[in-house]
Symmetry: C2
Subunit: 312 residues, 2 copies
C-alpha cells in the first residue's frame, strides 16, 4: 500500500479524465442527423466512472519503463485512442442493455436512458454506431499510430467485445434468468459479460508499448491475471451494491437482480461472504502486480482499490 | 460487353460463393449459449445474394496484375476475410433493421426474421455480436495477413459502417419518414445507408494488394467512383423491385416504402424514369472500369450487370 500512498492518484486521475473527455469530444463532433449525434453524446458523455479508459491508461503507465529516453508520444496517443474506444464499447453495451427488450431500465447515471430520451429505434442505432466508432478511433488514417499497434488493438477489442466475450456473456445471462447457477457458472458468465472488457482495458493499454510480441507476452501474463481478479471483484461488488445501495447513490435502479430472479454473488454467498470474497480477490490482484516486477504500477493499484471500495 | 462474355462468370462466382460459405462456417463454429450461435447462423448463413463479398473478391481479382510472379496467398486470404466481414456487417444491419422498433419485418430471404425466431433480446445481441465478429475476422492473431493490410481493412470497414456511413444513413432514413426529400437528399441518404458498404466492399478487396499507398490511391479512385455509381443503381433497382415484385420472388415483404410513406426513386421519377436512371448509372460505372486501365475487371463488370438486371 505504500506504493499507492506515494503516488498522486488525485492529480493523475484528474489529468487523465480530462484528456479522455477532451478526446471523446474530439472524436464525436456534431454531425447530421442531430438525433443520432445527441443520442451518442448522451450515452458517451453523460457521466460514468470511466473505469475502462483509466485502466487502459494505467496499464500504459506501467509499460512506460520500456519506452527508452525519447518520450513516446505515438504510444501515448495510441493508448488514449484505446481508452476512448473501450468507453465507447462500454457505452454501447449499456444503451442496448437498457432497452425494453433487455433490462427495460429507465435510469442510468441518474439520467433518463437513451431509449427513453430518444426513442427505441434511435437507441438501437446509437449503440450500433458507438460500437463502430470504437474501431474507427483505434485505426486512424494518419500515421500517428503505427499499423502494428492498430492491428493489436483491434484484435484485443474485437475478441473482448464479441461472442467469446461481452456479447457471449450477455447471452449466457439472458439464458440464465430463473436458473440456479453454481459459483463456477456465475463466474464464467461474468468473466465474459464484464470481465472480458476490463481485461481488454488492461491489455490494450499494455499493447501500447515498444516491446516486441515475445517480451510483451511476458508482461501481459501478469497483467491479464491482475485484470481477471479485478474484473471478478468488480462484479461481486456490483452485486453487493445492488442490494445495499439506493437509486440516488447508484445512479440506476437498485434491486433489479432479485426482482428479475437473476443469479448473483450475494444470493450465492450472502452479503458478508460476498464482501470478503471481493477483498480476497483484491489482494490477489495486487499480488500479480508485485510479481510482474513492473515499476510503474501505482495507478493500477489505486484503481483496484477504488473498484473494491466504490459506493456506486 | 465482350469482356464480360469471354469471362466465365458462372464458374468464377460458383467457386467464390463456395469459398465464402466455407469460410463463414469456419469463423462461426458452434459455441455456447446455443441460442446466440443459432441466431447468428440464421442471420449469416440463411441465404442472401452475397453481393458485398463477391464485390470484394472481384475487386481483389482486379488488383491481381500487381502481384508479381509468386501467387500471393496472403492477399487472397485477406480478401476472403474481408469478404466475410462485409457480409457480417450487412447481416447485422438486416437483423437490427427488421426489429419491431425499426421496420418490424417478419420475413427475410423467405425465412422468419431473427427476432421472430429467437426473440427480440437475442436479435439485438445477435446483431451486436455479428458486427464485432466482422472486426475479429479481419484481424487474425496469426501472421497469415500482414498488419498493414489488417489496419487498412479495419479503417475502411469502420468508416463505412458507422455514423458517417451505414448507421448515419439509417438515422437520416428514420428522420425522413413522411418528409418530401429532393433527389439530392435521397441520394445522400442512400450513399450512406447502402452505398457506403458497397463502396467499402470494392475498396476492401482492392486494399488486398501489394501496391504501396500512393499507387493504390490511383487505382482506388476509379474503383471508388465505380462503386458509387453501382451503389446508387442498386438502390434505384431496389425501389423498382419494391413496386413491381411479389413477396415470393423478393424474399421479403414488398410495397413497404409506399405503406410507410418513405421517400423513394419511383415516387420521385416514376417507374420507367427510375429504370432508365439505373441503366444510365450502370453505363457510367462500366466506364470507370475502362478508364482505370486495370486488366482483370471482368468479375466487377459482371456483378454490375447482375445488380441492374436482378429480380430480387
Amino acid at each position: 500500500m505504500s506504493q499507492v500512498q506515494s503516488f498522486d492518484w488525485g492529480g493523475w486521475s484528474e489529468q487523465e479524465l480530462r484528456r479522455i473527455d477532451l478526446a471523446m469530444q474530439e472524436w464525436l463532433k456534431p454531425f447530421e442527423p442531430q438525433a443520432l449525434f445527441e443520442s451518442m453524446r448522451h450515452a458517451l458523455l453523460g457521466g460514468g466512472k470511466r473505469l475502462r479508459p483509466l485502466l487502459c491508461l494505467a496499464a500504459r503507465e506501467a509499460m512506460r519503463e520500456f519506452d527508452g529516453h525519447t518520450p513516446r508520444l505515438d504510444l501515448e496517443q495510441a493508448a488514449l485512442r484505446a481508452a476512448c474506444a473501450l468507453e465507447m464499447v462500454h457505452a454501447y453495451s449499456l444503451v442496448h442493455d437498457d432497452m425494453p427488450c433487455m433490462d427495460n431500465d429507465v435510469l442510468r447515471r441518474g439520467l433518463p436512458t437513451v431509449h427513453v430520451k430518444f426513442g427505441e429505434s434511435m437507441a438501437l442505432l446509437c449503440g450500433d454506431a458507438l460500437q463502430t466508432l470504437a474501431f474507427e478511433v483505434i485505426t486512424p488514417e494518419s500515421e500517428e499510430v503505427g499499423e502494428v499497434i492498430q492491428a493489436r488493438l483491434c484484435r484485443i477489442l474485437s475478441r473482448a467485445a464479441g461472442l467469446k466475450g461481452m456479447c457471449g456473456g450477455q447471452a449466457i445471462d439472458l439464458s440464465s434468468v430463473g436458473l440456479q447457477l453454481s459459483q463456477t457458472q456465475l463466474e464464467l458468465m461474468h468473466a465474459k459479460k464484464t470481465g472480458a472488457l476490463l481485461r481488454a482495458s488492461v491489455l490494450m493499454g499494455a499493447a501500447c508499448s515498444s516491446l516486441d510480441n515475445g517480451q510483451w507476452q511476458h508482461c501481459a501474463q501478469f497483467l491479464t491475471t491482475f485484470a481477471e481478479k479485478l474484473g471478478l471483484a468488480f462484479q461481486v461488488i456490483d452485486d453487493v451494491l445492488d442490494v445495499v445501495s439506493d437509486a440516488k447513490t447508484l445512479g440506476k435502479t437498485p434491486g433489479k437482480d432479485a426482482l428479475n430472479d437473476k443469479p448473483n454473488f450475494v444470493a450465492l454467498m450472502g452479503l458478508e461472504g460476498a464482501k470478503g470474497y471481493a477483498l480476497g480477490l483484491y489482494d490477489e490482484a495486487l499480488d500479480q502486480l508485485s510479481q510482474s516486477g513492473l515499476k510503474h504500477t501505482q495507478a493500477l493499484s489505486a484503481l483496484a482499490q477504488l473498484v473494491v471500495h466504490r459506493k456506486s
